[in-house]
């Protein structure tokens, strides 16, 4: 039980990395992105392909650690591309339009992955070493431990960013009212680009850690991880980073405990559905979300 809980929490930490990106995008643009899971998976699958068959033209078989770096960089690039080509033109349209567009991107990337890498799962060696630790009866592999560490570092860095830097304040101002922010001289377009690049990089990191934690990754796997992350973000409140972390840890814990305890398939998903709907019915803005996230 305790072991399942702890393993679940480490998965939740991975979801939280994705969910923080979702929250950043929502804070910056009032847009809900359904594409973060796929954006992360695309970079990591590409990296695994290069690790197995060599980088095209160069022939280098990149090391497991470099696969994580590639996933982060490709995630950031895809994020930047999506922001420039798709989302920015939609910034002033009803939020549902942007939601549908990100859904289209998720669909496109998932099919592209299937086309490029096939439907079979790709073995993903741990990018952060092969050690493991024992904790309350749970055996945690390196990617799981690092997911927790990475989450703590990212949360701390973002806290510094939003409280100590002018640009961070600018992101917050933009989320309040983009028109006023623009008038006040905040580079709104740069804010948009920043949140998408950061979210893409985090998604890549999460894909590398989650993919290797579960031993391998197939196209559409990250769709599931992305959904868990979205559930966590909605539970925590769409514009709260701490809320997203709490929400994702809760989702991970529930998946770990419920999924591991009951034989019937789908009980974990049922539990997550109940948690999401229940939280929103009691508190439409989520646990820590502001009024604007309702």
């Amino acid at each position: 039980m305790a072991a399942r809980l702890i393993t679940g929490l480490t998965s939740g930490a991975g979801y939280a990395l994705v969910a923080i990106g979702v929250v950043l995008i929502f804070k910056g643009m009032r847009i809900l992105s359904l594409a973060q899971g796929e954006i992360g998976a695309f970079g990591f699958l590409l990296a695994l392909r290069w690790s197995a068959r060599g980088v095209p033209g160069l022939g280098w078989h990149i090391s497991p650690f470099v696969t994580m770096v590639v996933a982060v960089v490709v995630g950031a690039l895809v994020g930047a591309l999506v922001e420039r080509l798709v989302v920015r033109p939609l910034a002033t349209r009803p939020p549902l339009d942007a939601l549908i567009a990100t859904l289209g991107i998720a669909l496109f990337l998932a099919l592209l992955e299937k086309e490029m890498f096939g439907t079979a799962a790709h073995f993903a060696p741990s990018p952060v070493g092969d050690w493991k630790i024992e904790l309350f009866g749970a055996t945690l592999t390196a990617p799981r431990v690092i997911a927790i560490v990475a989450l703590a570092i990212v949360a701390f860095a973002l806290w510094l960013f939003f409280t100590r830097t002018r640009f961070g304040l600018g992101v917050l101002a933009t989320s309040g009212d983009p028109v006023v922010a623009r008038i006040l001289g905040i580079p709104v377009t740069r804010v948009y680009r920043f949140v998408w690049i950061a979210a893409g990089a985090l998604a890549g990191l999460a894909a590398a850690l989650l993919g290797s934690a579960f031993g391998g990754i197939a196209p559409f796997d990250m769709t599931r991880f992305g959904l868990s992350a979205l559930a966590g973000a909605v539970i925590g409140g769409l514009d709260s980073i701490w809320g997203a972390i709490i929400g994702c840890l809760a989702v991970g814990a529930i998946e770990g405990v419920v999924g591991g305890t009951f034989e019937t398939s789908g009980t974990a998903e049922l539990a997550v559905l109940v948690l999401v709907v229940g939280t929103l019915l009691v508190r439409p803005r989520g646990l820590l979300g502001s009024e604007a996230a309702a």
Binding site: L32, D97, I100, A101, G104, L107, A231, P284, A294
Partner: protein
């Protein structure tokens, strides 16, 4: 019939006739395409009409299909099996729609996503739901592919008929009001909760029928692939690429995404198998459509139709977007009434119609209305003036039931505080909003009909099938709408989209909509804002005519002092939620504290306010 409509009928007939010539195997594929198209048409009811996105429609599709097969396997005759599938899906969709009563668009999409994941991992993995080998026995006359195709076409026709009913009855107005002006529509008598659940139920009924068509074609279902999240996303793609709200566009898109790959063996240039390249192209098309062409394929059809109409009728009957002159006799009548010497006009010595007694509105720590007391007497036109943020619109919200009010507001002696907005409307209070309380995407007539929602006791669901008194009520509503529009010279614009009209005209439409219910008390929030001098003058005539001809009492929020001076019998001036002056408008607007409040300083004295 317009030329474009004739062309559309001809084209549809041609496509239908040609579809019978493709051969039995292809026809069977087309039945599958039709099932998906019907599911997409069901999703479209939610997306286009109510503005909610469901990502669980593939799960609903599956619930409909599995229930139909299981019901058939238990020995129910096929029509009852189909009915069971539809009913089960209606129940599932309504349950999945329950969260929308509490939360809004984006979060609802996530809860439906969670429902989809739950359904495919919990419901569709249970052998008592899906077990292969169960079979729905088709009647002999539905055995062949041609027969099944005809059956699917009949189902499609049923769905199109239902969508038509949704478009022309109370349901349509309730839906677009919830989509665009949810809070304000409460004043019209639209109840958001039941309206949303009705939308989910209708959408579920259509998708359930789609599932039943799928089940009738398959007989038994062994794979859950057609009902997974991926298909939910594809349904969204079909709706958006086809064009939200356009049945023909959605049918075309469904064929492109689901059918075309079976009809072409290879794609030229890229030389890839069609069933690999088509889904990914559809995803790309979805993104492109949302960004660059939100109207989708249906939008292309509309453009073609407009071009065809223009070729056949180059003059084009474009109505004048301004109000036309009203019956001169009526105007003269009203003008004569205006000639009362200012000095002899007294406050009408009749009982008060509306009395606010210490009405208070607070938001958090902010006091928006600070124990305001005032009264409006029967037959008066009362002006409400004051700077921005003085609490004028807040007072209107308090009277119409849109704000958290304490204290007392009575109307004809009846306490309003605590009543629902719709009840207050039914008591005879109507209002307009400073920034358009109507739906721009809909026609003038639809908006005027929307404003009368509370006049119709029959529920929207019954109206869909013409049950009860709904046919007579609808007829009555249309007559009232026409009368209200004629009164403002707007009759010729009834079928024009509100958003296509100049701003000044839309303000007049809003007044026409608010009086269509025959209110006794009309609250107008800055009716002259954005009007030119001439329009403003005509507005004053209209307001005076409303009192003279319809016996209405008016409260008018205004910044335009000449208008107040011309039409109002009495004026109240607010500042920071409290009353600072009252009296005859020409006197009130000269008082130093009023001038100070308007201009922000006390030495602005001479000549009064001319804001």
């Amino acid at each position: 019939m317009k030329p474009s409509q004739a062309l559309a009928l001809f084209a549809a007939g041609g496509v239908l006739a040609a579809s019978f010539l493709v051969g039995d195997v292809k026809l069977s594929i087309l039945v599958g395409v039709l099932a998906v198209a019907i599911a997409a048409l069901g999703l479209d009811v939610l997306v286009a009409r109510v503005g909610e996105l469901s990502l669980a429609h593939a799960a609903f599709f599956g619930i409909g299909a599995f229930t139909t097969v299981n019901a058939g396997d238990r020995g129910l005759p096929w029509p009852l099996a189909i009915l069971a599938g539809v009913v089960a899906t209606v129940i599932a969709a309504t349950i999945a729609g329950l969260p929308s009563l509490r939360i809004r668009g984006l979060q609802v999409a996530i809860t439906t996503l969670a429902f989809q994941v739950f359904a495919e991992s919990f419901l569709f993995t249970r052998t008592d739901v899906t077990a292969a080998g169960r079979e729905l026995v088709r009647p002999p006359f539905l055995e062949g592919d041609v027969q099944l195709y005809c059956f699917a076409l009949v189902c499609l026709a049923l769905v199109l008929a239902l969508r038509h009913r949704i478009a022309v009855t109370k349901a349509s107005r309730s839906f677009f009001a919830v989509r665009d002006i949810e809070t304000r529509a409460k004043c019209f008598g639209v109840e958001p909760g039941p309206t949303k659940l009705l939308a989910y139920a209708l959408s579920g009924a259509i998708v359930g029928l789609a599932g039943a068509v799928f089940a009738m074609k398959a007989g038994s279902i062994s794979a859950k692939e057609p009902f997974l999240l991926f298909e939910s996303l594809q349904l969204v793609a079909i709706v958006v690429v086809g064009g939200r709200g356009s049945a023909t566009g959605i049918l075309t898109a469904a064929f492109l995404v689901k059918g075309l790959s079976q009809f072409v063996t290879t794609v030229p240039i890229v030389d890839l198998e069609p069933d690999r390249i088509f889904p990914i192209s559809a995803a790309l098309l979805l993104v492109i459509a949302v960004v660059a062409f939100p109207a989708g394929i249906g939008g292309v059809y509309r453009v073609i139709g407009r071009l065809v109409d223009e070729v056949f009728d180059p003059a084009g009957a474009r109505p004048d977007p301004r109000p036309q002159p009203v019956d001169p006799a009526a105007a003269e009548h009203a003008a004569a009434l205006r000639d009362v010497p200012r000095a002899v006009r007294l406050r009408v010595p009749t009982p008060a119609l509306l009395v606010a007694d210490a009405a208070r509105v607070e938001y958090g720590g902010i006091v928006a209305l600070d124990d305001l007391s005032l009264e409006v007497r029967r037959g008066e036109i009362v002006g409400l003036i004051g700077a921005n943020g003085a609490g004028k619109s807040t007072f209107f919200n308090a009277v119409s039931g849109l704000g958290p009010t304490t204290g007392s507001i009575t109307y004809r002696g009846e306490e309003l505080v605590g009543l629902s907005p719709a009840r207050r409307s039914a008591l005879g209070i109507a209002r307009t909003f400073q920034d358009m309380g109507l739906v721009r995407a809909e026609t003038v007539r639809q908006n005027v009909l929307l404003a009368q929602t509370w006049l119709v006791p029959t529920p929207a669901a019954a109206g869909l099938f013409g049950l009860g008194q709904s046919v007579r009520e609808e007829h009555d509503l249309r007559r009232r709408a026409d009368l209200a529009l004629e009164l403002f010279g707007l009759g010729h614009l009834a079928d024009v989209r509100l958003g296509d009209l100049p701003y000044g005209t839309t303000r007049i439409v809003e007044i026409a909509a608010s009086i269509a219910t025959g209110p006794e008390l009309l609250l107008l929030d800055e009716p002259s804002a954005g009007l030119g001098p001439e329009e403003s003058h005509a507005l004053a005539d209209s307001l005076l005519a409303l009192r003279a001809e319809l016996g209405m009492t008016l409260v008018v929020i205004e910044h335009h002092v000449p208008l107040i001076a011309r039409v109002c019998d009495y004026a109240y001036c607010l500042e920071s939620g409290s009353l600072i002056a009252e009296g005859r408008p020409d006197v009130v607007t000269q008082q130093p504290q009023v001038i100070a409040s308007f201009l922000g300083r006390s030495d602005a004295a001479t000549g009064g306010v001319s804001a």
